[in-house]
Symmetry: C2
DNA sequence: AATAAAACATACCGACTAGTATGTTTTTAA
DNA sequence: TTAAAAACATACTAGTCGGTATGTTTTATT
């Protein structure tokens, strides 16, 4: 039962590439089958339908990736402002999972599916909530160890950072250059300094 | 030739509503015809194809709206920080053209079309560039009249504000509540204060 | 090696898509 | 009023979509 899991994973990974670069709805099953070299029989053996595969991509590819690159390094115990900035720097500048011209896959999907597909929205919301929690916890730690002012509201900081992130990913897509990321990081540093 | 222009406008407006709430690709011509009560003959008399209509929506509906709500009030001569904040407040809180649960139509379209339709991307970029220019000019005015520090880089401020805007629109979509807008505005105020 | 189940392949279907060809009605201008 | 052009209506097409029914091959177990 190793081979089967391998083909399943292949489908997920190749589909992710296509969906990430082209969008979910414009990626047809035939597109997926063509690039994987598989047939419909194989696909529908592993997935009930296209949407189930889409959810699987989020659950099995996006979530783990976000877990490691977006959240893990926030769990350190040092200066919270530095932790937050470094996290964002890593996410934007040292992440070969995402490419500037295609934005953030999670943001792309939520933008595309939000109004008409509640299941997608739900799992993407979980992802977003997990990131928020990690940021909130980091700010709370910062307040405890004195690296962040006592009157700072963690949820507000999280929301502000996350909205900046979604936004700058979109700007990068339009500008097709990661130079906008650097500019954003500069301003973010100024903002984070106001929390100290 | 008045009637014809009226039906053309009807098509544009109703199509905009559908595309704004459902997305461009998931809005079929039949959808549009059903809600407008028109037929294909009428549609294809006024537009060469679906894409041409999509571009027309941006040019003839989005651009004028953005012109008035996003840019005009930045042209005042007072405190630049206040002008910038008030603009964003108006855009997010006093705009019946957009609804929280559907985000920003321009952002939606650019997100959906960016990777695979250059014409859409081009006109949406024009829109985005016009907003950027207005913000940059406002900051420059602020530097002249002393309401903003001399070492502040206008382009960087513009980029930071715009990315925050795209982002918070997306967050609002996920949260389905304009309360996130208020939180964002609060943090934006803090950030803008660092420019003084 | 035999057998059953797992894994995959092929052919097909109905629904839907944007777009067209060809009509009919309405409006405009003389 | 009438002819011509503008504005709209209807019927149809070729292609694509996700999904299914039914087949064949491969793998694991005995």
């Amino acid at each position: 039962m190793k081979k089967a899991e391998a083909t399943r994973l292949t489908i997920l990974q190749k589909s992710f590439e296509l969906i990430y670069t082209k969008g979910y709805q414009t990626t047809s099953l035939d597109d997926i089958l063509a690039t994987t070299g598989m047939t419909k029989g194989a696909f529908y053996y592993h997935f009930k339908n296209k949407d189930e595969m889409g959810i699987a991509i989020i659950e099995e590819l996006l979530k783990p990736t976000f877990e490691t690159t977006f959240m893990r390094q926030l769990q350190g115990e040092g200066d919270a402002v530095k932790l937050l900035y470094d996290m964002m720097y890593t996410v934007l500048m040292k992440n070969d999972f995402m490419r500037v011209e295609y934005g953030c896959p999670a943001a792309n999907l939520s933008q595309e599916m939000a109004p008409w597909h509640s299941e997608f929205t739900r799992v993407l919301n979980e992802l977003s909530e997990a990131w928020k929690k990690a940021i909130v916890q980091c700010v709370k730690n910062g307040k405890k160890n004195g690296s962040i002012r006592a009157d700072v509201k963690p949820e507000q900081v999280a929301l502000f950072m996350m909205s900046g992130y979604w936004g700058i990913r979109n700007m990068g897509k339009l500008a097709n250059s990661s130079s906008v990321y650097l500019v954003y990081l500069k301003q973010l540093k100024d903002y984070l300094a106001t929390l100290q």
